[in-house]
């Protein structure tokens, strides 16, 4: 063939749905579904108009945050939240490590694997707010319920990601340590831990700032901490204090974010 005989156009062939008619049908279906779905949303425009006023007050509160008049409550809420965050992260990580090891297919025997995966699934299926409501009902209002909620949530998060990281480790290093006659615990300590430690540290720090943010949310349902203070402020229509609290939460989350990313970089 001469070079001019080759085609000059080329199009990427469809990858998922090969049939042209099916592709059209799927597109049409999506459009129809969206149209139907949007038409079912009822908006009460009169109510929205009324709400604008309240929303504006809220915004004004942000513009004039009042740190001083409720400072004692804010300080107490913050201390509770930070305590809750730190303790729950430490406890959560401590429990997550053995569960994470147990949930790694390449290290744990089958029954242990399924048990640990089960624990992770339960912890992940239950959303923090739901757990918090349940635990507040059980242990009463206050940071103890919050501490338990966050520890529980940390387990699902950290064990799952740790287990996945362990399943991805270099099997050659494990084999080499095993071949020296090392025991199971020594294999974990010498061949697995060095490979997953940087990621475990990173994830723990990441979970620390997630826990702080969550502590504000679960406080609203009664689990103590800064969330409870925020809830009280909103209930009393003290939007200026609420604004101050939200600003403090944002500032702390940002400090934690930058701090932990620097620390992670330093540790790698």
């Amino acid at each position: 063939m001469t070079p001019s005989a080759y085609p000059t156009t080329w199009r990427r062939p469809p990858q998922i749905i090969r049939d042209r008619r099916w592709r059209l049908a799927v597109r049409l279906g999506i459009v129809v579904y969206l149209a139907l779905a949007i038409s079912t949303v009822e908006v009460n425009w009169a109510r929205v108009y009324e709400g604008l006023d309240r929303g504006w007050n809220f915004v004004l509160g942000f513009l004039r945050p009042d740190f001083s008049s409720r400072w004692n409550d804010i300080a107490q809420g913050l201390t509770e939240s930070l305590t809750m965050t730190l303790t729950s992260t430490v406890v959560g990580v401590a429990i997550s490590v053995p569960i994470g090891i147990g949930a790694a297919r390449n290290l744990a025997p089958r029954p242990v694997y399924y048990l640990c995966r089960g624990i992770i699934a339960v912890s992940r299926a239950l959303q923090e707010v739901i757990v918090a409501i349940f635990l507040v009902a059980m242990f009463g209002f206050g940071p103890f319920a919050g501490f338990l909620t966050l520890s529980f949530a940390t387990i699902g998060f950290l064990s799952k990601l740790l287990a996945e990281d362990i399943e991805d480790i270099d099997a050659g290093q494990v084999e080499a340590i095993r071949s020296t006659g090392a025991s199971w615990a020594q294999v974990i300590n010498y061949a697995v831990q060095p490979q997953v430690m940087p990621r475990l540290t990173g994830l723990s720090l990441y979970r620390l700032d997630i826990n702080f943010r969550e502590s504000a949310v679960i406080g609203i349902v009664g689990a103590g901490g800064i969330g409870a203070t925020l809830n009280t402020a909103i209930d009393r229509y003290e939007y200026d204090s609420a604004g101050a609290i939200l600003l403090i939460i944002i500032a702390i989350v940002m400090v934690a974010e930058y701090g932990s990313s620097h620390l992670r970089k330093y540790l790698q």
Binding site: E175, A176, T180, G181, Q186
Partner: protein
Amino acid sequence: MLRIESLSKTYRTGDTALSDVSLEVPKGQILGLIGPSGAGKSTLIRCINRLVEPTAGAVWLGDVNLVTLGKAELRRQRRRIGMIFQEYALVERLTVMENVLSGRLGYVSFWRSFTRRFPPQDIQRAFALLDRVGLLDHADKRADALSGGQRQRVGIARALAQEPELLLVDEPTASLDPKTSRQIMRLLTEICAERGLPAIVNIHDVPLAQQFMQRIVGLRAGRIVFDGPPEALTHEVLTRIYGEEDWNAMRRGDEEQARAEAEARERMEALAQ
């Protein structure tokens, strides 16, 4: 020293990696295991320390049958067998010294190894071994800071730290350049000679095997098809090991590759003479 009796391994997928392999390695002998990829070389040495569980047969190390041992006793017996790996298999984020000391894990309690407080004679031996392989100055470096040849030297030191009675060596030079390969092979053979240590070396590089091994065993499709001194490795024998016909379609590619390599090397050697 090591006696393998009709060892077989069939994987769960139904692939037969080894069938009826019998082999005896006396003290101090360095044995090269050659054969095309997929012939079962790796499986054979892993069946000896049971990183792979054999399906049938016996492996006698001295007067212990390794195949029938329970977990705890197997760990104790593994201390007697040092292993050196293709991709070095060092724990990359540990220091060189920790890697060498990990050869002692079978001898110390978990607590001692966890706190890195090894007995003084273990530490002394580790330093001596690092000196022997020429890496005394690198003891505190992390393993991933070393070059390929240096890493394999650490691998050798780790295996020797076990004070083994047998060395299993899996493609020690596969990830190294030709010059470093020769240095590593020389170091290995010297060390084995010094200690009267028997070794089984998986090696796909035929000229390298001929240069350094005292005895060659050729494996093909899980069976021993040649056993003799390196001088007896004629063109005809190599064809028998690396095969010509009788291979199913899947293996044909590997085989051609191996044959092409073997032939290319022969040509290179002819040119060099």
